[in-house]
Symmetry: C2
Subunit: 222 residues, 2 copies
Amino acid sequence: MAEEVVLFGAWFSPYSQRVRIALKLKGVQYKYVEEDLHNKSPALLEYNPAHKKIPVLVHNGKPIAESQVILEYIDETWHGYPILPKDPYERAIARFWAKYLDEKYNLPLKIKACWGEEKEREKALEEVSEILQFLETELKEKRFFGGETIGMVDIVANVIGLWLGAFEEASGVQLMKREKVPKLCDWIDEFVSSSVTKESLPPRDKLIVYLRNRFGGANVSK
Amino acid sequence: MAEEVVLFGAWFSPYSQRVRIALKLKGVQYKYVEEDLHNKSPALLEYNPAHKKIPVLVHNGKPIAESQVILEYIDETWHGYPILPKDPYERAIARFWAKYLDEKYNLPLKIKACWGEEKEREKALEEVSEILQFLETELKEKRFFGGETIGMVDIVANVIGLWLGAFEEASGVQLMKREKVPKLCDWIDEFVSSSVTKESLPPRDKLIVYLRNRFGGANVSK
């Protein structure tokens, strides 16, 4: 039986793009289905009834939801390029930072930091700054979080890699100060220009317009 | 070198107890350090600077934080009893439900459901009911979420296994209706009386007093 891999995603979602990057790293061919999140397909609702969210990867008819769960599945199903390291302790550290990123650097925080009222914005900006500082420390002298190559944390940190700058430009608010997190800034440059991620990330200009329309609303000119 | 395993935890925390259950299933000997969360030890702050939270497992001097990350580490480090299944798809499903539990059935929801103002409480109770219904469906005809034996989802679902009933008793609010989730109720009975979990779970009476004092406050008599 020929293998069938289908990804249900949305072009502007960093969570979908993680799956695209992982499938590209593994060299897996797949069919991509763009979901309209205002009018979700019956297939998506059937595949992910608990969350009703993208991304969903369907492998030979079996659905898997939640981007980090999908990344682990991809790593365990298709061998070759390693997304997680081999050593159990290094794997734990990668999982820790991947979880940290999604828990702490979440969408409500970004919206507050970019478009919140002054006090709320200041508080959110402090939180963002603390998160970036922890990531700077974790990067140490490495090229990628995964060492010499892109791994789990790099893929998950695409929310910083491309989206952070897009949020900055869409809102006019500076979220990251280069002098405070120079290694992380170098990492962003490497990440967005890598041949692997370049094709999997959405066009920056289109993303900025999208973010401004979706979250900026009347506040965008503040 | 003799192996050194230390767990920093708190007796009332379902997250610490997950690690205790996993170490027991694997037959790993360890030293347990009870943390005072009002006066955290310098060791805990050093081992988990990003969250400053228990549980932290320290294995031969190397710290790992976040209960689900620790469970994966334990499963990959000590062989024998399997916490996650072998098949990648089954592993993904277990990870999905473990993540679902921690994301959805979180502490703020429980506090609202038990001690919130009327409208807030009603809404929270509906959410709890939906979560339990999804778990009921996932259990199907299985004895445990892990099949015939306790696995990842069972360990994580200790927040339901012991804590749900304790929250009910501490608040006087019914969170779960037996007729709506009969399989889940059978699972709870099996889970709390299993020889593995019995010794790792805190005494129910003590837990109820603790929850009432910590969260109930003046609202408890409502």
